[in-house]
Amino acid sequence: MMKFAVVVFPGSNCDHDAYYAASHVLGQRVDLIWHKDTDLKGADAVILPGGFAHGDYLRTGAMARFSPIMREVQSFASRGGPVLGICNGFQILLEAGLLPGAMLRNRNLKFLCQHVYVRVEQTDTPFTSASHRGQVLRLPIAHGEGNYFAEPDVIARLEANRQVIFRYTNADGDVTSDGNPNGSAASIAGLCNEARNVVGLMPHPERACERALGSADGLVILESAVQSIRTGALVARA
């Protein structure tokens, strides 16, 4: 059995959803780690959950990167440990410099909660290894600032390095304007770092792990982590 660490910032509100998906649905061990802690307690993988860390009254994620636990997360990531940032967790990864780029307000300037389709672009990350390239996932989004932005040269580098991991598409897996809910550059829904062990995405896989909730397509993302650890593809440990 592997062990996830779910970091709890003040204002996190998807921490229990990630906990529930990893523990109850996937049957793995999970620790909730308070942001003031300085120890990831031997976790095999870290999840930064969704929410509004510290209220997000400044830029989303801007305060959370100063939380004591983030030093530990950075160190874990630099040793190759798998880190998944979901929604606000993705925004925190951007602010912490673990992933490139920034988030703008959604194209329509409104918070949006709905199911969208994303296509798996690359499978050589710890969070997509159990999926197949081109696989279309139906996942919920729930954010006001998910309009991914980076300078053109950064986008070009992300593309060249195959760091775009998820892209918004229509139900058929085609990149279209209608399929892009928030105006993200290059329809980017999720990306990874150069070492490929840190992944951030705006959609919520933890909300799509059971049929009763309307989709179980998100399961493959957490299952990938379990599989990566089991097969020894990743060896870092907190």
């Binding site: 003040p10 998807c14 959803d17 529930y20 209220g55 909660c113």
Partner: protein
């Protein structure tokens, strides 16, 4: 010192002041007068409505907590309680839509977690003027963004709600918010102060000058100077509330707590007084110890401030450090501001010097109660009359039944509310198993098999035409929506939105509506466990439609048997439960097609309604139906159309009975298609389940008949054997989906 002008500014009548002096045995000082004014305001004292509210049914074996606490609670099995209430924030939302609505959400959430329950779902019921008017769109945009801003941030899903648009709400929109939480049945915490010497703690945001006299404002009518009252609206901080929520729930896990209450309307005044009164004790505080955001605040201002996100706690003596430690963890500072006493007084000190001293009883039990004069309003004589043969010609664009159906589907009242609910996070906490727009909101309860369904409903137009029957229909519809999802209705909460009760015609509407709610709740076994009254909903002397909004909570024993409104597969049987009588009085059809708000709202046979609801729950529990949808606004044709939406285009071929209510075939067909007779629902089922459904309906004494099958990509409805409606699903769904967006797009164009 206290002259008539001061009294008027405090919303107190001269005879009320005499009563204060008599009770105190002296003239009150200004601080004391301020305290009386908020506690005796309509908002806090329910002085006009109390005699009527007392007639409501509030008990039953399922009720763990009835009215009088911060929220009601019902037993939902497995040792758990559902804690819920609805509350209004109408006046603040008109003055400042975003913050008014946001702080409304914050307030009701505090009421729920104050009871020891973790809030797990929100609903809202909104009323605005016509969507054609730019001011309405501004209000709608602000209110929706405010609800979203607060609920999304704090991480409680908004799982459903309802909105209507009528000109009567143009100057006085309604923002009613419902919240539901879960706690262990044995762990419900009350807002009491008891045990002399126990510590009184203040925790949360600092006190500022915002919202002073909010409760008094909510007890007065609007006029053109209302915009100047903006400083009386508070600003919400959902992050602070999230910290308070988590910290308070953690404190409640210890047994160091005696009681807790949020500081909502009338802030520190109301919480100290009510907690002392409930516990039969007194409370003594020193305002100098209250954390303050501004300098130079007077005791008067501190006692009356309605700054948000503040809680008052009574902690057992000797356990203070334990409680302070928990708040410290959440970076919240708990301030020890006073003690519980035995003398039944509210005593306010400033640096040790007494600045106000009032018996609790004078502020609560002795608050004035009015049996205000009532008279049936004159307008009713005119509007109740409806001669279907004398209706003017139909809007020329509505040349056939199909175009009428499309017009109804595109009317703001009936159209999809996706523009609204997509701004609310409705999935956080991963419990939502019936998404908004699919019928009642349904959330599963993790670690059990159960789920709770909830719905808020009200029809101001019906209540305008007949407050008593309109209110009964609101109870019936909310309970029916819950039953359609497969849940057994358990209990209800009400939010009574009316005009100025000092006018006898308004008072009559209120009394009639309360009678109607009582009768329906008794018949449907859904006791009222709490709620809220919002009066003085008038602008420049013009009242809103009388609008009681009812929230009903129901229980699904098996979460996996939840039923939504959508047809599931082609080839299923479509069965109509209940019977149409072609009632067009007060209907959306008359409003849209003839521009008329007239007639009597549909009849309601409560026995038939109860039988229908029990049948719906029975059919869902036996997994006999694959979808269920209630008939309400727009009648059977609209219901059938809605069953086909969000299905990826599963159509239906249907045949319904004709009715004869008028001299022309056109009106008779309209009555069959768009009449709003109550106690009806449409279910779909596998063809081989039909016989069993009809058998069970017969045993339950519910009229039932198969009216067609799902399939194809069109909606076809024949009336009396002749095809009346025929439209591709894609076209109908497009019109239904985009109405609100179109109104906003128009502004840009």
């Amino acid at each position: 010192m206290i002259d008539p002008k001061v009294l008027e500014r405090h919303g107190l009548k001269p005879d009320e002041y005499d009563r204060i002096v008599a009770f105190m045995g002296r003239e009150p000082n200004l601080t004391e007068l301020g305290i009386f004014s908020v506690m005796w305001s309509e908002h806090c004292s329910y002085k006009s409505s109390r005699v009527h509210l007392k007639t409501l049914p509030t008990g039953g074996p399922q009720v763990l907590q009835g009215p009088g606490e911060n929220a009601g609670a019902v037993d939902i099995g497995d040792g758990l309680a559902a804690v819920f209430k609805i509350e209004s924030h109408n006046h603040p939302s008109f003055i400042e839509p975003y913050q008014g609505a946001a702080t409304g959400v914050g307030g009701i959430i505090r009421d729920i977690f104050t009871m020891g329950a973790r809030p797990i779902a929100l609903l809202n019921s909104l009323r605005f003027g016509s969507l054609e008017v730019p001011a309405t769109r501004r209000l709608l945009e602000g209110v929706v963004a405010g609800i979203a801003g607060y609920g999304n941030s704090i991480g409680i899903p908004t799982v459903g709600g309802e909105i209507a648009f009528e000109p009567s709400y143009a100057g006085n929109p309604l923002v009613n918010v419902f919240c539901l939480g879960i706690s262990k049945a044995t762990d419900i915490i009350k807002g009491v102060a008891s045990g002399a010497g126990n510590a009184v703690y203040y925790v949360g945001a600092k006190t500022g000058r915002d919202g002073i006299h909010g409760a008094t404002m909510a007890s007065a009518e609007f006029d053109d100077k209302s915009a100047e009252k903006r400083p009386a609206v508070q600003v919400g901080d959902p992050f602070m509330e999230k910290l308070l929520l988590e910290a308070c729930l953690e404190v409640m896990q210890t047994d160091a707590l005696v009681g807790i209450q949020d500081m909502g309307a009338a802030g520190l005044t109301c919480s100290t007084t009510e907690m002392g009164s409930r516990g039969g004790a007194g409370v003594e505080i020193d305002v100098a110890k209250v954390p303050q955001r501004e300098t130079g605040m007077t005791p008067y201002e501190i006692m009356l401030s309605e700054s948000q996100e503040r809680m008052l706690l009574v902690v057992k003596r000797g356990r203070e450090a334990e409680v302070e430690r928990i708040f410290d963890k959440w970076d919240l500072h708990a301030s020890h501001i006073g003690e519980v006493t035995t003398d039944g007084m509210l005593r306010v000190k400033e640096h040790g010097k007494v600045v106000a001293e009032i018996p609790n009883r004078a502020l609560t039990d002795e608050a004035p109660v009015y049996r205000r004069p009532m008279i049936e309003p004159d307008y009713l004589r005119n509007v109740r009359k409806l001669d279907l043969d004398a209706l003017g010609p139909r809007d020329a664009r509505l040349r056939d039944d199909t175009s009428v159906l499309l017009a109804l589907l595109g009317s703001p009242a009936i159209s999809s509310k996706r523009w609204v609910y997509s701004q609310y996070d409705h999935m956080v906490r991963t419990n939502t198993i019936n998404l908004p727009g699919m019928g009642a909101g349904v959330v599963r309860i993790k670690d059990t098999d159960r789920a709770l369904a909830m719905s808020v409903d009200g029809n101001g137009r019906y209540c305008y035409l007949d407050p008593r029957r309109g209110a009964m229909l609101a109870v019936a519809e909310a309970a029916r929506n819950v039953a359609c999802a497969g849940a057994r209705p358990l209990a209800a909460t009400n939010c009574l939105n009316f005009g100025n009760p000092e006018r006898p015609a308004i008072m009559w509407q209120l009394a009639q509506a309360v009678e109607g709610i009582g009768e329906a709740c008794r018949a449907l076994d859904t006791p009222i466990t709490g709620g809220n009254v919002s009066l003085y909903n008038e602008t420049d002397g013009k009242a809103i439609y009388p609008t009681p909004v009812i929230g009903v909570v129901g229980l699904l024993e098996h979460a996996d048997r939840v039923v939504s409104r959508r047809f599931q597969v082609a080839g299923d049987a479509v069965v109509l439960l209940g019977e149409g009588r072609g009632e067009l009085g007060g209907s959306e059809y008359l409003k849209v097609a003839h521009g008329v708000v007239q007639g009597e709202p549909p009849l309601l046979d409560l026995k038939a309604e109860r039988a229908l609801q029990q049948l719906l729950v029975d059919l869902a529990g036996a997994r006999l139906v694959r979808s269920a949808h209630d008939c309400s606004d727009g009648g059977l044709a609209v219901t059938l159309a809605e069953c086909t939406f969000d299905t990826a285009g599963i159509g239906a071929d249907l045949s319904i009975d004709d009715v004869s209510v008028a001299g022309t075939a056109e009106i008779n067909r309209a009555a069959a298609l768009f009449g709003e007779s109550a106690s009806r629902a449409v279910v779909s089922a596998a063809p081989d389940a039909t016989a069993e459904i009809l058998k069970r309906a017969k045993a339950a004494d519910v009229p039932a008949r198969m009216i067609g099958r799902t399939g194809g990509h069109e909606l076809r409805i024949a009336v009396g054997g002749h095809v009346a409606v025929s439209v591709p699903i894609s076209e109908a769904e497009r019109i239904w989906s985009n109405t609100i967006e179109h109104h906003f797009a128009k502004r840009v164009a």
